[in-house]
């Protein structure tokens, strides 16, 4: 009579081996899923940041070509990267007055400022547009409600028609902050 014990033992060994291989295989799959999830999470965050960056650039371009600020030359083409100081001084009030009904559709939630660097003795900051995302907390306080902020900086000329026939050109920059 032939004993079946060695065969049974060999079968058990095979089953254990298969279970071990499957176990390792599933662990690998779980690792891959975790890795992919983390990767997707990071790439989604990056994509959000990229979209916000794109909005910052678009807002900068809109501001640079805003007729309320750009240096005009009569019927001729306006000057590149240039703001008129007299227009800037007047535009601040006008933009604040029409933030909700007009400018919000153009700039959305953003903070736009122009800073003069040169001439130094007249260095000034001009606030053109401010609309931040806010939220009211339990005690009635209004706090910033944005989770992401992207800043875009651009160097601009500040034209001042101070001299007879010869305008002076200052040096400054435009700072655009967008929120989401």
């Amino acid at each position: 009579m032939v004993s079946s014990k060695p065969f049974r033992k060999r079968g058990q060994l095979h089953i254990t081996e298969t279970i071990a291989v499957l176990f390792i295989f599933f662990i690998l799959i779980v690792f891959a899923i975790i890795f992919y999830y983390q990767y997707q999470k990071v790439s989604l965050k990056e994509k959000q940041q990229e979209l916000l960056g794109k909005r910052a650039v678009e807002t900068t371009l809109k501001t640079i070509f805003l007729p309320e600020l750009i240096c005009s030359r009569g019927d001729a083409e306006p000057e590149d990267n240039c703001f008129e100081v007299s227009k800037l001084e007047k535009a601040g009030g006008l933009i604040q007055q029409h933030t909700v009904d007009y400018y919000f559709n153009i700039f959305s939630y953003a903070n736009i400022t122009v800073q003069q660097i040169y001439p130094e003795n007249e260095a000034k900051i001009c606030c053109t547009y401010t609309k931040e995302i806010t939220k009211t907390i339990s005690d009635g306080k209004v706090v910033p409600g944005w989770s992401n902020r992207e800043t875009s900086l651009f160097v601009v000329t500040l034209k001042e028609d101070r001299f007879e026939g010869e305008p002076s050109y200052g040096f400054g920059y435009l700072k655009v902050e967008v929120y989401s």
Binding site: A32, K54, V57, I117, P119, F154, T157, S168
Partner: protein, 190 residues
């Protein structure tokens, strides 16, 4: 057990091993593809666009800037002097600065080249690019004739170092003067 059974079982286990090997190869390939995707992703378009736009706007604004300093033209009423048209041209015409080479304008009692190199341009570039932690290099060269070698007239480098061996963008501007062609190049790097 017959010889045929042993051969069939051996063939089956060989096939299983082959499938295992294929799975391992597929997993390794997938891993390598992921790694390649991570390492080959270049700088974002926004970053490049911003740097290019910034280089262009900075050099065009810089060249357009006017100086309203009465000390630049002693005895005359202050009129705005263009950095590009007046001061840079004056610097190139009276280059190199020295005891026997006085420039027409003497802003802050300095030769035009020294005033641009030491006072005005560092003030403008450090106040903007420098304060935003951007590296920059601003070089102005003078080409006296078509077959001569360009002479460096101005050379400014940011406090954080130059843009050599760094990801950079450039924009240039040139003017024709009596002394020759004056070419300015601005490099901006992160």
């Amino acid at each position: 057990m017959s010889l045929r059974d042993i051969i069939v079982r051996g063939r089956k286990s060989g096939q299983m091993e082959l499938i295992g090997l294929v799975i391992i190869v597929i997993l390794i390939t997938l891993g390598m593809l992921f790694m390649a995707k991570f390492s080959l992703s270049g700088p974002s378009e926004k970053k490049i666009f911003t740097r290019q736009g910034l280089a262009y706007s900075t050099i065009s604004t810089l060249m357009k800037t006017t100086v309203n300093d009465p000390s630049c033209i002693p005895g005359l009423s202050a009129r705005p002097l263009q950095l590009n048209g007046d001061l840079l041209e004056d610097c190139a015409t009276h280059f190199p600065p020295g005891p026997y080479s006085d420039s027409d304008f003497s802003c802050n009692n300095k030769h035009s080249c020294n005033y641009l190199q030491q006072d005005l341009i560092p003030l403008l570039l450090d106040g903007t690019l420098g304060s935003w932690n951007k590296g920059y290099e601003f070089k102005v060269t003078l080409l006296r004739s078509t077959d001569s070698t360009p002479v460096p007239v101005l050379d400014l480098i940011s406090a954080s170092g130059g843009c050599q061996n760094r990801e950079r963008d450039a924009s240039d501007s040139s003017i024709n003067t009596d002394a020759g062609l004056v070419q300015g190049v601005l490099y901006i790097c992160d």
